[in-house]
Amino acid sequence: MVTPSGCSGDDPVRSLTLRGSGASEADAAGLLGRSPAMIPGKYRSVSGRAASNVNCGLHLVIQTSSLPEKNKVEFKLNKETPSFPGRLLQHDLERNYSSRQGDGRVISPSPRNKSSCISSTTNGTEPCGLEMKTTTSSLPAFGDSSIQTPSKSRIRQGCHSAGPNVSGDHINLVSSSMPSFPILQRSSEEKILYSDRLTLERQKLTVCPVIDGEEHLRLLNFQHNFITRIQNISNLQRLIFLDLYDNQIEEISGLSTLRSLRVLLLGKNRIKKISNLENLKNLDVLDLHGNQITKIENVSHLCDLRVLNLARNLLSHVDNLNGLDSLTELNLRHNQITFVRDVDNLPCLQRLFLSFNNISTFESVCCLADSTSLSDITFDGNPIAQESWYKHTVLQNMMQLRQLDMKRVTEEERRMASVVAKKEEEKKRESQKQSLLKEKKRLTINNVARRWDLQQHRISNIAADQDGRDSDSPSQDPCQNAGSTVSAFQEETGSLDSGLTSALQGLSVTDTHLVEVDGDTLSLYGSGALECLDRNWSVQTAGMVTTVSFTFIEFDEIVQVLPKLKLKFPNSLHLKFKETNLVMLQQFNALAQLRRVDQLTVDPQGNPVVNFILWKYYVLFRLSHFSMQKINGTEVTQNDMIMAERLFGILAHVASSELPPYRLISVLGDARKKQFQCLLETKGRKPGIVSEENDNSKRLAGENTNRAALHYTTRDLYHEKLEEIKEKKKFCKMYIEDLVKEATEINMKNEALQKLWPQMFIELVRDAVIEVRNKNSYMKLCLQHITDQK
């Protein structure tokens, strides 16, 4: 509303009520210079009331400076006054605050305006010379003013109930009998006084009257009439301000000549479509609230438009806002808007009112975040405002915001929002990381599985070859097994591949193993993962791990790291094997060297040994010193224990009692050596553990000696051993051969000697006898011999 600081003719500033009810009307009366005496009682009282509860004054004010050029209505809607547009825009909001629930008719309750309103009302002593003639002209548009009919009374009547500004005394409406337009004429003094304005409020007009001789009019007010069509004003080419609030206009029309028009108020009409505004290039304010508009269109040329009010229409969405380069305020309250677009193309938009719409996600209005100018926004009455994340999401995304839902955004709120947003961002990143990790894990496992399959194929092929030519090689499990696992994993592969990003795929190719600690479970995938047992695990982690799961690792490779496992994870109680190529019962022997095993789970997949009905009993038998509780998830019963003993007890007995002592010693020696090693390695620990260890070893040595002979050597080691034995054998063979040959030779010589000896003896005796037979010659010979010696 105008700040009507004095309405006297020479007052430099003229205030004009543009619209309004209550106080605004009073204002208007004052502004139009009606003296209180001239206003009918009813209106006086109204004005009085207005004066007393001014709280909702009219706001759109046009200040006319009459001093320099009196007849020029000057719009102080200048952009330098920041209060003006704000006030104008607020009028719609106002509606909700005021008890009146008016249709968003205007009115800013700022104190300054209030006082000015009051002053205008009270000072409104200025005589208002407005003369109106109802001219019934036979001409369709600009009826002939000469034809005058005394229809005064009717008009008076109308005047009675209509606005106070038009008094029958001054205005003559001349109507003809023909269905035509009334012609309006004003008295000359009025014309002089208010040459640039004309107010025809509440005149029950059904058509626009022909306004003759008022080409200088700048302001025209048709509020609260029943006008259905905009007509007869195309001659008012200097019109700047046109108020058609609260009429029954169904289409925007007849404005094409009003090129100077800057304020067009068409609120509370029946307009269905924004159209025919092509020539109004200077339009500054366009009020279309309370109509039936379903879509924003034909406004892109309004590059000077600063205020657009589309509240209480039937808009379902917001777009087509390009070209509104000056728009600073956009009112879209009380529509059915579900999404907003193009707002980021409005470089000057500062205030946007979206209250009471149907916006439910921030994504549907996300273009708002891109607007740099927006400082004031409302979302109240939308589903989105009910969300817990609403405030901080909006604040976080629109840092430039100064007001949200009519409340000043404090620094604290902004901080909170950013904190919350940061948290959320972190959470998101974390979960993303998690899912990335998960995906990577899946990929890696998949990759490991593929490698495993390849390896299995290769191994079984080799095994087949070996079987073919060398019956000594222990054969592997058959191809059928490998085949089945492959098919199982290929399925998995297919489903995995679909969800992969190429980057991940690149990553996964290089990963051949995976180590994962999840709670109390240590999962190892791929033989490379066994290296992790060399790592330094924190005491806490190592202490927590009670389950160790092996997947896609050759059991023989696991066997080699079991001593390490025992050291690094002393609490591991549950072992899981899946795809580990367990094919023989004897492989379980290897587990006997662990400290404790409470549970054993051997997945049938990739472990053919589980198909043997005896495997469980063998495990129970061989690992009886662990007193295992569960095997493959099934509780071990006493019957199982007895059964195991019955089945394999004799084997143990035979192994212990019938093995030649030298071998028993060597076998046990191995076990003892191992225990000793263990002791050495664990000596840094508490004495209690060591003594327990001792007990253990005692038990092992005592109760379980009979089982110690049942040990498992991995295939590679065994082959090495066989090679070694072969070497030794070769050597032994040669050695024995030599020995035996020598012995037989000696034997032969001996036999030959034995054969010759009797004959030889006889010959020898005979020779001796012959020699001594001639005593004399023998004596001589002897003597000769003695003398020769001397």
Partner: protein, 331 residues
């Protein structure tokens, strides 16, 4: 040293033929292997123990396959050890697959070849039912023949093939390592008319073979007995008959008679002692050890290819003490 053969052969060959050399070599080998332990209690003691264990037949326990099959004595000892250790499995009434038997064999001899087990299973089972279940005794006796007379059977297979193809096998016998593979059963058309070879002719060839064969072979008289019962027989019919022949089992001397297969009082006693030692065990076991019907074992058999049909048939076969193979051989 006093045997007459000793005079016929040079000493070295004699020792080799009697496998003395084998044991001497092995003894030295073992000595080398365990020299640290052995040096503690004396080499004389070691040799005593070694040759004692050879006599008792316990020297083959957990040894490598090449040693186990090196001498007939070792083979017999292994058979006996296998029977003693896993008699309880048979006693429990479990029927096992070839692979499971193989696993048991591997418990005693880690590098026992699958091929031998497969061959033994082939004696019991039909060609197309290699993954069927076998009773312990069926497998054990078939395994005995296959393992103990392994080389002999290969030669027999070669002879059989020659006879089938109409050649006179007496001219030349070349046992080939791959002979185990050729066992084409006659096609159905042939089978209805003539299956296998004529027993008498087959016997002549075998007799000839036994005379010349340097490996152990079943006593010719018993082979004659086996073959005299029938007119014609197939190779596998012959093997089944061999495996079921008491005389051959006795001659081999490793295993008790079929009827006594489950009896081994000494071991049972030892087992009872072991059972008592199981921690926390109630005395119910010792109270009625024989009567305690062991819990029926029906562990989940994942993806087991066992055929119930065969299962039933096998049980029948066991009850009347003969297998299909036998029937076949008698036709």
């Amino acid at each position: 040293m006093l045997s007459p053969e000793r005079l016929a052969l040079p000493d070295y060959e004699y020792l080799a033929q009697r496998h003395v050399l084998t044991y001497m070599e092995d003894a030295v080998c073992q000595l080398l292997e365990n020299k640290e332990d052995i040096s503690q209690y004396g080499i004389a003691r070691f040799f005593t123990e070694y040759f004692n264990s050879v006599c008792q037949g316990t020297h083959i326990l957990f040894r490598e396959f090449s040693f186990i099959q090196a001498t007939p004595h070792n083979r017999a000892s292994f058979l006996r050890a296998f029977w003693r250790c896993f008699r309880t499995v048979g006693k429990n009434g479990d029927l096992l697959t070839m692979r499971e038997y193989h696993c048991l064999l591997q418990l005693l001899c880690p590098d026992f070849p699958l091929e031998l087990t497969q061959k033994a299973a082939r004696i019991v089972l039909m060609d197309d039912a290699m993954d069927c279940l076998m009773s312990f005794s069926d497998f054990l006796f078939a395994f005995q023949i296959q393992f103990y007379y392994s080389e002999f059977l290969e030669s027999v297979a070669a002879i059989y093939q020659d006879l089938l193809s109409g050649k006179n096998p007496n001219t030349v016998i070349v046992p080939t390592s791959s002979s185990g593979q050729h066992r084409q059963r006659p096609t159905l058309g042939e089978a209805s008319v003539l299956e296998g070879v004529e027993a008498s002719l087959f016997y002549q060839c075998l007799e000839n073979l036994c005379d010349r064969h340097k490996y152990s072979c079943p006593p010719p008289a018993l082979v004659k007995e086996v073959l005299s019962n029938v007119q014609r027989l197939t190779f596998y019919g012959f093997l089944v008959a061999l495996s079921k022949h008491h005389g051959i089992n006795q001659a081999l001397g490793a295993l008790p008679d079929k009827g006594d297969l489950m009896h081994d009082p000494a071991m049972d006693e030892a087992l009872e002692r072991l059972l008592v030692q199981i921690p926390g065990l109630v005395n119910s076991v010792t109270a009625s050890p024989e009567a305690s019907c062991l819990p029926s074992r029906t562990p989940p058999r994942v993806g087991s290819p066992w055929r119930p049909l065969h299962h039933a048939r096998k049980l029948d076969a066991e009850s009347d003490g003969s297998t299909e193979e036998t029937d076949e051989s008698e036709t």
